[in-house]
Symmetry: D2
Subunit: 144 residues, 4 copies
């Protein structure tokens, strides 16, 4: 199996069991080795007491993107430390895109930046995440 | 109105319109000037593809605590930059507590750390957040 | 005075009094409104107990770049919250370049990402910083 | 050799070769397994263009504390991701204390918070750091 096909196979396996990403309504635009581009729409139930999207929505969206990108290499990876800057308010009906960038990957650690943009291509949030790459594989039979 | 009563009044006003905090099932254990202690239970729909709570759940919980604590002074405050370390896996049925600590507050900026613990008093996440304090008040009539 | 000339004038004023940036041996490659590109060389006295550059060196270099970029608009700005990911070891003799990117600027807040690269164009560190923009100006007479 | 003695032995070995910590003038007040309390004084050459300590000084001080605390277990550890909030200005002549807290340690990852206070016991900075713990030991012969 080619690396891109494996990345997609892992994404499907993860997404199928990822109830939170399903609740967010995440759709994959692109999945490949080390990379994910995702989309979602902000619904009314995602707003906070100031009538803008709760900070947890853009964070959750970025954290899903981190998980999909960092696991796409085959090795199971878990988020260790993450940060997010909320750049612009996000509103109901906004269609958000998360685009990952793999800054660095070693055997044990991966570092990613993720930009979230809205339908007008404005940056609404900037996320940085570090994952720990375990010694377990999603599909050991594919790693020969 | 005393400052503690005002803090509670602001919390109620915010929470009533905060659909995301309602979805999380957040309950306030303590609200006072500069401080919030909150509780929530992790439900099945909050899990990710590894069958543990999605990182966005503990983040959202902490971010709500940040909002309630930092707005409790009367001035409207918005999150600018936040980070979270995921310390231990969180599972379905876990009852989480978020406890805020106001590290520093100036006229314009507030800095908070927030620990999230589980029912066994184990730390599961550590959050740090910076807010910008605007010149708008929740209840201008109370600020005389 | 044009904005670019003002940015350079502010940089000179800051750098002249910035003993730490002088100790680091920072040189400006480009300074303009909202942007700074800087260079420095890693000296023996900057190493830690593992014979690589102390994490404080790349941080200090990035923090200087943040200060120069965020103050270049005319308004005095101070760093509030910053984070850095150490991506690759840095060694004695390495020539580092810091390149700033202004992600967002409002009247009161600025958010910047800064990449540090070495002489082989490898990313060695990734920095994110938030500044608070005060109501004081470097040269009030230029702001008419 | 007891764990505390080993922690001190590792600190001495690290400090002896750590030119940056020496330049900062760091002194150890307490070193034990998983913990370091350090002190330093801010000198004129550590100031920035606003006549306060450069943000890189408190960062470097905290990063040294992170290194000493996280390496004290015997295993060589390197900083991966760190953040610092600058809470109060630091001035020439200030005597700073860094106190580490080990939030979490697994075989591969350690998470620490570090408070920096001044001579008046005021918090001036709050640091959070994640290290990767390698499979190399400082003194393999002590690990039997």
């Amino acid at each position: 199996m080619k690396r891109k096909e494996l990345a997609i196979k892992i994404f499907k396996e993860m997404y199928e069991n990822d109830k939170m990403s399903q609740w967010l309504g995440i759709e994959a635009l692109k999945i490949s080795k080390g990379r994910a581009v995702l989309q979602m729409m902000v619904r009314n139930e995602m707003l906070n007491g100031m009538d803008i999207a709760h900070g947890g929505i853009t964070y959750s969206f970025a954290d899903s993107a981190l998980a999909f990108a960092s696991n796409s290499h085959g090795r199971k990876a878990v988020s260790v430390e993450t940060s997010i800057s909320h750049i612009m308010p996000v509103r109901e009906g906004d269609v958000l895109t998360a685009t990952t960038k793999e800054e660095r990957i070693t055997k044990k650690i991966g570092i990613y930046t993720i930009y979230i943009t809205n339908q007008d291509k404005e940056k609404v949030a900037l996320f940085k995440g570090t994952v720990y790459r375990s010694s377990k594989f999603w599909f050991p039979e594919e790693e020969a």
